[in-house]
């Protein structure tokens, strides 16, 4: 069983490489990863600014099963905190982390660029503009039971990406470099517009900034349904195309000569990743570095094969963001630190580390 495989190689027999390729190495790693994810989730549910003993947490969670009632003696506030506040937070943070990670990996694959992250072609800037526009407007946050801010964020994200794509199109192809440039241009416009709105409505600056920096403080179970319907199909599509993503790492001409319909695949995968990211951002704000760092960390550990990179990124991304969120709500209690700040703090040291190991090619 190879848990930590291809990182360092002497001259192992090609036979070992064969069985690695038959995917046998992935399942044990994935199982371990999922185990870690579950452990971290439980840990995060048990820890918080409010001290609730671990066994109480376990009883509260188990009592959710039909016919089980172990938590009757516990204070209602504890039950509410664990079930209505912490668990939704942990689950949503995990989902958002996984989404950002696999989207980042997909973007890095399609653009063949190690600096790509899911916000490259405008998702973050568009979402930020949408959310800010609603926050500073005289509109209520909730109209007819529908939360406007996440809706506007989602719409803004998709609009920005769509515009970038439309601008970059040349006939039937979308050259990746042009797409990046278009995305950067759209992002600048959106970011400037957002800053302008913030300055002109500076009484809302605090609220806007908090949203932009990202956080899970207002998580509730209903928000799960904002993310899942987009994230699950997108993840399924991207995972299916793992092998094709490997082939894309040659240049586009070679991929085409190997029978891959490059333009269609690019559109499909970027579309899926952007959609999932837009949904995640609408719920959590703009959390940086996850989509960028996690795929690189997985590459460093287990190599560049996207068939394992994608699922392991999802697992590692979920773990990372759950832990970051745990820090966000405990490190400065009773205050909440925007989780984007925590992930950024982890980003810089990671990049420095990446620079140092650059000798060994990882991309």
């Amino acid at each position: 069983m190879k848990l930590f495989g291809s990182a360092a190689r002497a001259e192992p027999l090609p036979e070992a490489a064969f069985s690695a390729l038959l995917g046998r190495a992935l399942w044990p790693r994935l199982a371990l990863g999922l185990g870690v994810l579950l452990g971290v989730a439980l840990l995060a549910a048990a820890i918080g600014p409010v001290a609730i003993p671990a066994d109480a947490v376990a009883r509260i969670v188990l009592s959710r099963l039909p016919g089980v009632s172990l938590a009757d003696s516990l204070p209602q506030s504890w039950q509410d905190i664990v079930w209505e506040i912490r668990l939704p937070r942990v689950v949503i943070a995990g989902l958002v982390g996984a989404t950002l990670a696999f989207s980042g990996a997909t973007y890095q694959a399609v653009f063949r660029n190690p600096l790509a992250d899911p916000y490259l072609i405008g998702v973050a800037a568009g979402a930020g503009l949408g959310a800010t526009a609603v926050i500073v407007s005289p509109l209520d946050y909730t109209v007819g039971g529908l939360s406007l801010v996440p809706l506007a964020a989602f719409a803004g994200a998709l609009t920005a990406v769509g515009l970038a794509y439309a601008l970059a199109r040349v006939g039937r192809t979308v050259p990746t470099v042009t797409l990046i440039l278009a995305g950067v241009a759209i992002s600048s416009i959106a970011t400037s517009a957002t800053s302008f709105l913030m300055i002109n409505h500076n009484e809302r600056v605090l609220t806007t900034l908090t949203w932009l920096l990202g956080g899970f403080n207002l998580s509730e179970w209903s928000k799960l349904w904002w993310v899942l319907p987009y994230m699950l199909p997108a993840a399924a599509v991207v995972l299916l195309y793992g092998r094709i993503l490997n082939v894309l790492q040659l240049d586009e001409e070679q991929a085409q000569q190997l029978g891959v319909n490059v333009e269609r695949v690019k559109l499909l995968l970027l579309g899926a990743a952007s959609l999932a990211t837009a949904a995640a951002v609408s719920v959590s704000g703009i959390i940086g570095f996850v989509g960028l760092i996690i795929p690189h960390a997985v590459r460093l550990l287990w190599g560049p094969d996207y068939r394992q990179l994608l699922p392991m990124s999802m697992v590692l991304g979920g773990v990372f963001l759950i832990l970051a969120d745990l820090l966000a709500r405990t490190v400065n209690s009773p205050s909440e630190v925007p989780v984007g700040i925590i992930t950024a703090f982890c980003g810089a040291p990671f990049f420095l580390y990446l620079l140092r190991v650059r000798q060994r090619a990882v991309f």
Partner: protein
């Protein structure tokens, strides 16, 4: 704030003494019938007036200001309340009270445009916040500017508000109205403090500034109001005046009263009750969720006693009808 007034009084006393000494032949002004404890009331010609503002600048007011530009909503309210409204020719965009103030020319307090302010030709500019050298720049243009409080140093107590009212009374030569206003407000505060004299500890309060759970900690202005009301602010222990609290902390600290200052953005007792996980909070169970106008609780101006009275009514319904 107290040091400002102290220094102002001292300087004023000095100036007055000098003026009296020099001009004693002129016979001075009208003699004031009541023996007021403050030297100021005896003075008939209060100008030129030297004060020190909250950022330590010495400001000399040559004559009664007739063209005041007030870039502080609180100062605007005070000026109109002490009868100096006619001397105000320009206000900032947030000076929305009293109604009369909105008819004045509008300026931007957060991103002040030097030209726009100078264009109004004010003889006195009042700032509550100096976004980088604005006072100095205006000074170079020969415009008298006073900074009354800053974003970091909002007056923390009602006492400080009284001081500001008196200061503005001096500055605009409406000292009598200023003292009357202060006396009125003091009566209001005294009444509340008396009614709460026997209270050791008030109810636990959560003051919601914003639906993303920003609140006012004890060291903010509204936190000061809650201190007068002896309420237990659940944001105690935070390291800044307006922290964002985590949801679980709010639930665990179980406020008995929730005051919403974000009614304008769609929050109401119903939306709060609908929040998942909040059902066990005392305030939610006992339906003690109230909406308050954010302007009156956050402005260190004449209406802060109205705010105090409203809050007192929410916190102690039996004692204050």
């Amino acid at each position: 704030m107290t040091s400002l007034v102290q220094r102002g009084l001292l300087l004023l006393a000095l100036v007055v003494a000098l003026a009296a000494a020099v001009a004693c032949e002129d016979g001075g002004g009208e003699p004031t019938p009541e023996a007021s404890p403050t030297v100021l009331a005896a003075v008939a010609v209060p100008y030129p007036l030297a004060i020190v503002d909250t950022v330590g600048r010495e400001v000399t007011i040559e004559a009664q200001p007739q063209r005041i530009a007030s870039l502080s909503p609180a100062a605007t309210e005070i000026l109109f309340a002490i009868g100096a409204g006619d001397q105000v020719i320009a206000v900032d965009m947030f000076s929305n009270y009293p109604q009369e103030a909105t008819s004045r020319q509008q300026l931007d307090a957060y991103e002040p445009n030097l030209e726009a302010i100078a264009g109004v030709e004010p003889d006195l500019v009042l700032l509550f916040y100096d976004p980088g050298e604005l006072a100095a720049s205006l000074g170079r243009l020969g415009i008298t500017t006073a900074v009354l409080g800053s974003v970091e140093e909002t007056p923390e107590s009602v006492e400080a508000v009284f001081d500001q009212i008196r200061l503005l009374g001096q500055v605009t030569d409406h000292m009598q109205e200023a003292e009357e206003l202060v006396a009125d407000m003091q009566d209001g505060v005294d009444a509340i403090e008396e009614a709460l004299a026997d209270v050791e500890q008030g109810p636990r309060v959560f003051h919601e500034v914003d639906a993303t759970l920003y609140t006012a900690a004890p060291d903010s202005f509204v936190g000061g109001l809650y201190k007068i009301l002896k309420a237990q602010n659940i944001a105690a222990g935070a390291d800044q005046p307006f922290p964002q609290l985590t949801q679980e902390v709010i639930i665990e600290r179980d406020p008995e009263v929730i005051i919403l200052a974000d009614g304008a953005y769609g929050e109401s007792p119903d939306t709060v009750k609908a929040r998942p996980g909040w059902g066990s909070i005392s305030a939610v169970r006992n339906d003690r969720i109230f909406v308050i106008d954010p302007d009156i609780v956050s402005r260190p101006g004449p209406r802060c006693v109205d705010a105090l009275e409203a809050l007192a009514g929410f916190l102690y319904p039996q004692r204050f009808e």
